[in-house]
C-alpha cells in the first residue's frame, strides 16, 4: 500500500511506498501505476513511477490536491492484474573501446576484468523504472561485489547504447547524453525508438533483462 501521500508543489501528488528499494515495493508501485493508467482519472496529466515512489501530476484547472488524494486513497489495486511482463535479452559488447570505465571498476571493486564481466552477465535483472532521458531503463540488482558510486565528474557525452553501473543498478543510454554512470559496454540494439508511437520503449518497468556478452564482430553484424 501507499505509506503516505503528500503534495509536490500545487499540481502533483507524491506517493511514498517506503524507504527501501526492492523488487516487492517496486512491483507495488508498478501495479498502482498500471491500475491508474487504465482508470484514466479526469485531470491527471502524468504518472511517474520510480523505485519506491509514484508521482501523479495533474491539471490544476480540473482538480486539486485534496480531491485527487481522496480518489487515489480509495482506489483498489487488483493483485492479480497484469502479467504482461517480458523477458528481454540485450547483447552487450565489452570491447575496450566501449568499456570506458573498466579500469576504474577494476580498481574500485578490486576485481579483475573477467570477474567483473562474469558476474555482470551471470544474472537476470529486473527493470525498476524508465526515464531521465527517453526510454532509459534502470535495472537491478547488481551483485553486492559489483556496487560502485557514480563518477566524481560526470561525462559531458556518454555514447548512445552505453551500459552503465552505479550502486545496485545498471542502465542503458538510449541516446547520447551527459551522465555519470560507470560504462561497462555498449549495446548495438535500439532501446528507444521514437518512430514508434505505440511502444517506443523496448524495456518497461517490471520486465526481466538478461545481458548477453557479444564480441566486436558480432557487434558489427548488427550494423550490416
Amino acid at each position: 500500500m501507499i505509506k503516505n501521500i503528500s503534495n509536490l508543489g500545487d499540481a502533483a501528488l507524491y506517493c511514498d511506498f517506503g524507504k527501501e528499494v526492492n523488487k516487492e515495493i517496486n512491483s507495488l508501485v508498478i501495479k498502482y501505476f498500471k491500475t491508474l493508467k487504465v482508470k484514466n482519472i479526469e485531470g491527471v496529466n502524468n504518472l511517474i513511477p520510480s523505485y519506491n515512489k509514484l508521482i501523479i501530476s495533474f491539471d490544476l484547472k480540473k482538480t486539486n490536491f485534496k480531491d485527487l488524494k481522496k480518489k487515489i486513497e480509495d482506489i483498489k489495486i487488483n493483485n492479480q492484474n497484469d502479467l504482461s511482463f517480458k523477458k528481454i535479452q540485450i547483447p552487450v559488447c565489452c570491447d575496450q573501446k566501449f568499456a570506458l570505465d573498466i579500469n576504474r571498476l577494476e580498481k574500485k571493486l578490486r576485481l579483475k576484468q573477467d570477474e567483473i564481466f562474469n558476474n555482470f552477465f551471470s544474472k537476470e535483472y529486473f527493470c525498476y523504472m524508465t526515464g531521465f532521458i527517453a526510454g532509459m531503463p534502470f535495472v537491478g540488482d547488481l551483485d553486492h561485489k559489483m556496487r560502485v558510486k557514480r563518477l566524481e565528474t560526470p561525462r559531458v557525452k556518454v555514447p548512445k547504447g552505453s551500459v552503465g553501473l552505479t550502486e545496485q543498478f545498471a542502465n542503458i543510454y538510449t541516446f547520447e547524453s551527459p551522465g555519470g554512470w560507470n560504462i561497462i559496454g555498449n549495446t548495438p540494439i535500439e532501446i528507444f525508438n521514437n518512430k514508434k508511437e505505440k511502444e517506443p520503449n523496448l524495456i518497461n518497468p517490471g520486465d526481466t533483462i538478461i545481458f548477453k556478452k557479444i564480441d566486436i564482430n558480432q557487434y558489427k553484424k548488427y550494423y550490416e
Binding site: K37, N46, N52, G131, F175, N194
Partner: protein, 314 residues
C-alpha cells in the same frame, strides 16, 4: 500543390514549434515540453483567431527572420519583443499583442526579446507540421516532435495547409511585468537542509545563471548546505521543482526537464508564477518566498482568471 509557405532566412538562437505539449509519457522518459510561457502562447493564437492549441513559433533571445510567400494572412507576436515587418513599400516597427496582415514577399525580422527570454510568433493559419504523440512540440534533446525534433534552421521552408479567412485586426494592451519574488512550496526533502540553509534560501538573493535553457534554470547565490545526503533515490520530477545539486546550487526544472532525478528537492515553484519564472534572463536577481498549498491554489485561480480575461478581451 500548396503555394503558401514561410522561408527561414535566419533561424535565431533557439527557435522551435510549440503547442500545449504532451501528456502521459513521463513514465517512459518523455517530458511535457510545450510552450514555456503558457499565457503568451495562448494570447498569440487568439490574436490571429486560431484554435488556442495551434502550434506557434517559440524563440529565445534572438528570434527568426523569415520571408512569407503566399496569400494574405495575419500574424501576431507576444512577449516583450522587438521586431520589424518589411513590406514592399514600408518597414513597420512591430508592436506585440497586435495582429498584422502579411502579404506575399513580406518579411518578419524578430531581432530580440527585451529583458526577457521567450517570445511567440503565431500565424493565422495551420502549418503543415508532423505531430508526435498528439503534439508538435519540439524536444531537441530527444529529437521528438515536428521538424524531426530539431531546432528550426536557416533555409528551411514550412508549408501552410490552411489560412484563416478573417483578417480583421486584433489588439489588446498587456504588459509583461518582471517578477522578482518567486513563490514556492516546501519540497519533499525540505528537512535535508540545515536551518541556516533554509533561512538563506528564503532570505538571500539568487541570480539566474547562463547555464539555463528549456530543461532547467541554474541559480547562483549562497550555497545551500545539505545535512542528510546530497543524493536521494531517483524519483519523478515535475516542472517547477527546485533541486539542490551536490555543489549546493539550486536548479529549477523547466518544461523539457529529465523525468527523474536524484537530488533533494528543497521547493517547488507555484504554478501561478511559472510563466514569469521562465522569462527571467541570465543575470536576473530573484528571491524565493514561501507560501502554503492553499495560497498557491488561490494564486493559480487568480492567474487563470486573468489569463481567461485577457483571452476574452481579444
Amino acid at each position: 500543390m500548396n503555394k503558401n509557405f514561410i522561408k527561414i532566412l535566419r533561424p535565431g538562437i533557439n527557435t522551435t514549434f510549440q503547442d500545449l505539449g504532451r501528456n502521459n509519457l513521463c513514465h517512459i522518459g518523455i517530458p511535457f515540453s510545450g510552450a514555456m510561457d503558457n499565457r503568451n502562447f495562448l494570447l498569440s493564437n487568439k490574436l490571429v483567431k486560431n484554435n488556442l492549441n495551434t502550434p506557434v513559433i517559440e524563440f529565445a533571445y534572438q528570434g527568426p527572420h523569415l520571408k512569407y510567400h503566399g496569400e494574405k494572412l495575419n500574424i501576431a507576436i507576444t512577449g516583450d519583443v522587438s521586431f520589424k515587418i518589411k513590406k514592399k513599400k514600408e518597414i513597420i516597427n512591430g508592436s506585440c499583442y497586435e495582429s498584422y496582415l502579411l502579404e506575399d514577399n513580406d518579411e518578419i525580422d524578430v531581432y530580440s526579446t527585451n529583458k526577457s527570454v521567450y517570445g511567440y510568433l503565431a500565424l493565422g493559419a495551420e502549418l503543415d507540421l508532423k505531430f508526435q504523440w498528439e503534439s508538435c512540440s519540439i524536444n531537441t534533446k530527444a529529437n521528438i516532435g515536428s521538424n524531426s525534433g530539431k531546432k528550426i534552421s536557416a533555409g528551411q521552408e514550412f508549408y501552410i495547409k490552411k489560412i484563416n479567412k478573417d483578417h480583421s485586426k486584433k489588439k489588446i494592451s498587456y504588459i509583461n511585468t518582471k517578477i522578482d519574488k518567486i513563490r514556492v512550496l516546501q519540497g519533499t526533502n525540505f528537512n535535508y537542509f540545515s536551518d541556516e540553509a533554509k533561512k538563506k534560501f528564503f532570505k538571500d538573493e539568487f541570480s539566474v545563471s547562463k547555464l539555463s535553457d528549456r530543461m532547467g534554470m541554474r541559480l547562483e547565490g549562497p550555497k545551500i548546505n545539505n545535512i542528510i545526503d546530497t543524493n536521494i533515490k531517483s524519483e519523478g520530477l515535475i516542472k517547477g521543482v527546485i533541486q539542490v545539486t551536490s555543489d549546493g546550487n539550486p536548479i529549477i526544472m523547466l518544461s523539457d526537464h529529465g523525468t527523474i532525478g536524484g537530488y533533494p528537492k528543497i521547493g517547488v515553484v507555484v504554478s501561478a508564477d511559472y510563466d514569469k519564472l521562465v522569462q527571467l534572463s541570465p543575470g536576473s536577481k530573484i528571491k524565493f518566498k514561501q507560501v502554503i498549498l492553499n495560497d498557491a491554489e488561490t494564486l493559480f485561480k487568480l492567474y487563470d482568471l486573468e489569463t481567461q480575461n485577457l483571452i476574452s478581451q481579444i
